[in-house]
């Protein structure tokens, strides 16, 4: 129990750092995903915008959802939200706190993806290359090129090998321009996110510190209570199984003794623990019968005092033991082997 307590304290004090660790790993994973992804601009007038903006905005959405999925506390939040009130009131502030802290952590990886994408520049170059101001950056004096033609030529800017509009606007000039805009947007985005995070963190002690302490305490409490309950149930299940199986073996051995009209073999006084653990089954035939019975006819989930069980089959769900029990008999009940 002491060891359990130590491990508990470790997880408790480190629950936050554990989740921060997952958050950091996801941010790293998002940069790795971006560098491993083979960006391939289609270089066609209407497809460019869709592709560029899709790569910019869709993976962050996926990463955001993944951030929620990987967070263990989401099921705890859902449980607390949906439980019937019963004897314990529900505090919406606690739910809000839990949701906010999960959402903040889930936002980090998408923000990293968007920043890295904007600072790299390929997406914006691909998406907005058809909107480059040709008048200021290049020679707009190509009257024989129709608007669609110009669009088609500009759409090929990201694909240097097939670009054929060098007279219209130099490829490097356009790429530099778009990249400059993209990087400016990227830095502004990072600045905005950082400022928001700073404001959220620094305004909280100024306004609602007491409420915050309360929500944090009760949200930890709910988490710990759930874990402790699971632990207690696991312990209980273990003991239940142990007693159930013990009673099964005892039942078997008594039954076989009755069937063969043998006197129960006296355990020699110096045989010790090992003989006790044999539970009265000491030969191959008996053991085989015990195993077969375990497979074919498992005992009911109903533990009785050291006297024998008196029922077969499952106790039904809706039948609480409300009737006074029949005085138990000391001899074996008949088992059916089927």
């Amino acid at each position: 129990m002491d060891k359990f307590r130590m491990i508990f304290q470790f997880f408790q004090s480190n629950q936050e750092s554990f989740m921060n660790g997952i958050c950091g790993i996801m941010a790293l994973a998002s940069t790795q995903m971006y560098s491993a992804f083979d960006f391939n601009c289609p270089c066609l007038p209407h497809y460019n915008l869709a592709y560029g903006l899709g790569i910019l905005l869709l993976p962050p959405f996926i990463l955001f959802l993944l951030g929620f999925v990987l967070n263990n506390n989401i099921s705890m939040l859902a449980e607390e939200w949906r439980r019937p009130q019963g004897q314990r009131g529900k505090d919406p502030a606690v739910l809000r706190y839990m949701f906010c802290s999960m959402a903040q952590r889930a936002m980090i990886a998408p923000a990293v993806w968007v920043s890295v994408t904007l600072l790299d520049g390929k997406c914006i170059t691909c998406a907005f290359c058809t909107s480059v101001p040709v008048e200021t950056l290049g020679n707009a004096s190509h009257p024989y090129l129709s608007k669609e033609e110009i669009q088609r030529v500009l759409a090929r800017i990201p694909c240097k090998e097939i670009y054929n509009g060098q007279q219209l606007i130099a490829n490097e000039v356009a790429v530099r321009y778009l990249r400059c805009i993209s990087q400016a947007l990227g830095w502004c985005f990072v600045l905005l996110m950082t400022t928001l995070a700073f404001l959220v963190r620094s305004l909280r002690p100024c306004f609602s510190q007491a409420a915050f302490l309360k929500s944090r305490y009760w949200s930890h409490y709910i988490d710990i209570e759930r874990k402790l309950f699971d632990e207690t149930c696991a312990e209980h299940a273990r003991s239940f199984a142990k007693v159930c199986i013990q009673q099964f073996f005892e039942g078997m051995s008594t039954d076989l003794v009755a069937a063969r009209c043998h006197l129960p073999r006296k355990v020699p006084a110096d045989a010790g623990e090992a003989a006790e653990k044999l539970l009265g089954i000491t030969d191959q035939g008996t053991m085989n019968m015990a195993l077969k019975s375990w497979h074919r006819c498992k005992p009911p989930l109903h533990l009785h005092p050291p006297a024998l069980s008196n029922g077969n089959g499952w106790a039904g769900e809706g039948q609480p033991p409300t009737h006074p029990s029949v005085p138990r008999r000391e001899t074996a009940a008949y088992y059916s082997w089927v």
Partner: protein, 301 residues
């Protein structure tokens, strides 16, 4: 109790070193960010200065804010500043000390970024190539005024077709880089001298106030940590008691309903204790259902 004392000492000695560690990591991160950032000057007359100065000054603001966010002590300081006085007086000197130590640590990464940027030179070349006096450079002296701005703006782009073999471009570039590096080294020198003087002269002024402020700021930090630890411990014990009460109340309810004879079993008595009177599939199902539908009240008196 012994364990608590060990944890005490650990936190006490390592609060400062944790903060110094974060500070160092941020400085390294800032260098790494600069080297992995793909600087690409737009080489257009109005955009150059905005881009160059933006890259030089916006990331330091971001790094400064990150330094404040990642430092746990900034929260502690804010809480101490905003708390109602109650029965404990507020010492302005302590808050000032905490504020200054937080600011000093948060300033390291931005300064590192600015110095690395200046020593590298690309930002200044990009920002100020358009403000050069064309008369000083042979290649630009005889060009018309309208065109000279365009040409000067293209100086940072080595691979541009107009600039590829232009010797005056290299001259402008070297000139600006020289200025940039001189500025970078000067700033570094000034900062190091200022830090040296501050540390050296500090014992001459208000040493006792400083010691007091440092002690109490450390105290506030540790008190906060221990309060959180104690709350965790308390909530664990609370939960334990609450669950035990719940199992006992289930046990009593079952006893009321089933009128079973008192058990005289010797058998596995330890196991019987752990079973807490719940020995039936129905009883277990009922317990689990009650746990969901009617959680016990938060009252373990």
């Amino acid at each position: 109790m012994d364990r608590f004392r060990m944890i005490f000492q650990y936190f006490q000695s390592n609060s400062e070193s944790v903060m110094n560690g974060i500070c160092g990591l941020l400085a390294l991160a800032s260098v790494k960010m600069y080297t992995s950032f793909d600087f690409s000057c737009p080489c257009l007359p109005q955009y150059n200065m905005a881009y160059g100065l933006g890259i030089m000054f916006v990331p330091p603001v971001i790094l400064f804010l990150c330094g404040l966010i990642l430092n746990r002590q900034s929260l502690v300081m804010l809480e101490e500043w905003r708390r109602p006085q109650g029965r404990r007086k507020k010492d302005v000197a302590v808050i000032r000390y905490m504020c200054s130590s937080i600011m000093q640590r948060a300033m390291v990464a931005p300064v590192v970024w600015i110095i690395v940027t200046l020593l590298d030179g690309k930002c200044l070349i990009c920002a100020f190539s358009g403000s050069m006096d064309p008369e000083k450079f042979v290649g630009f002296a005889n060009v018309s005024t309208a065109q000279v701005q365009q040409l000067l703006a293209k100086v940072p782009c080595k691979d541009d077709e107009l600039m590829r073999n232009n010797t005056s471009r290299k001259a402008v570039s070297r000139y600006l880089r020289c200025w940039s590096q001189a500025l970078g080294w000067s700033i570094l020198l000034i900062l190091i001298i200022a830090a040296f003087l501050a540390r050296w002269l500090r014992p001459c002024f208000n040493q006792t106030t400083l010691l007091q402020a440092r002690h109490w700021s450390n105290y506030i930090d540790i008190e906060q940590k221990i309060f959180e630890e104690t709350c965790c411990e308390h909530s664990r014990l609370f939960a334990h008691k609450c669950i035990l009460h719940f199992f006992e109340s289930m046990q009593q309810e079952i006893k009321l309903h089933s009128f079973s004879l008192p058990r005289e079993g010797e058998g596995a008595e330890g196991e019987e204790d752990l079973l807490r009177g719940i020995t039936d599939q129905d009883q277990v199902n009922k317990l689990l259902k009650t746990w969901y539908y009617e959680k016990p009240p938060l009252d373990v008196s």
